[in-house]
Symmetry: C2
DNA sequence: GCCTTAGGTCACCTCGCGGTAACCAGGCAG
DNA sequence: CTGCCTGGTTACCGCGAGGTGACCTAAGGC
């Protein structure tokens, strides 16, 4: 059996076990991290702890409101850690926890897949649209 | 340097490269597969080709409309393949393509992470809520 | 003529995600 | 007293994702 074939087989059985057998667990996690900002913020924090305003500035397009909401949700789930420094002016730092870091591994694999196959997807998309055109 | 430490370092640099440096690519893929059903359907199809109604039955909660829309989008991006059998009654089979299968790897890792850490997340969540209560 | 069965499409409506902008706490500066 | 800084919170609102249920097509059976 070829390597590619074995990988396929392995994935198939993983698929059966992980998703087909218990879609709710997968769904619950997708609902959690599948929103507009969660994964992106997890990603942003890979480079080390960041402050609220820093995240606000460097995350393109996020609003103050959504940053608050998303960070709270991530904190609630134990994916990021929030530290308040009693200084003047006040300072708050966010960093990924161990759990958040463990999530990063599959997430970054997904990101790398994204980077690798982006062009293929765009090509498929335009081809499909061209077919549908006529 | 310990193994865990090295993994951490690797992830940090991957994070910097993949996400912090170029959030748009990651965002675009998240927008694509981050919807309510795409990843789940990709997952469902790991076990082999399935028919429309079969997916409708076995995917908990999906509506006929959303199944159609999501499958079309996946087909458009070249992630699944749609085969019509000119029989009576008509039969349509969906199967993941090579591209779809390559996506499955990171996705299934995510699913396994979900399964592994679900209880930890729930624990964190209840602890956080208990703190916020008082 | 009417039912069935598979695989959809269409019109309509709801609900909640997320954006905008104003407001707030609190400590220090002038 | 007024203003400024950070790190939020709150009220308001629009839009679009997604659910519901009716309808469609095409062949065959009765």
């Amino acid at each position: 059996m070829s390597h590619a074939k074995r990988v396929t087989e392995t994935l198939r059985s993983m698929g059966r076990i992980c998703i087909e057998h218990d879609p709710e667990v997968f769904r619950s996690v997708l609902e959690r991290i599948g929103d507009k900002w969660s994964l992106l913020l997890i990603g942003m924090l890979q480079g080390g702890p960041m402050r609220f305003t820093e995240l606000l500035r460097t995350t393109p397009g996020i609003s103050r409101r959504m940053l608050t909401i998303t960070l709270r949700a991530l904190e609630r789930d134990g994916l990021v850690d929030r530290t308040i420094y009693a200084e003047v002016p006040p300072r708050v730092e966010y960093r990924v926890t161990e759990l958040g870091l463990s999530l990063s591994e599959p997430v970054l694999r997904l990101a790398m897949w994204a980077a690798d196959h982006q062009s293929a997807i765009i090509a498929n998309r335009t081809a499909f649209d061209a077919d549908a055109q006529e």
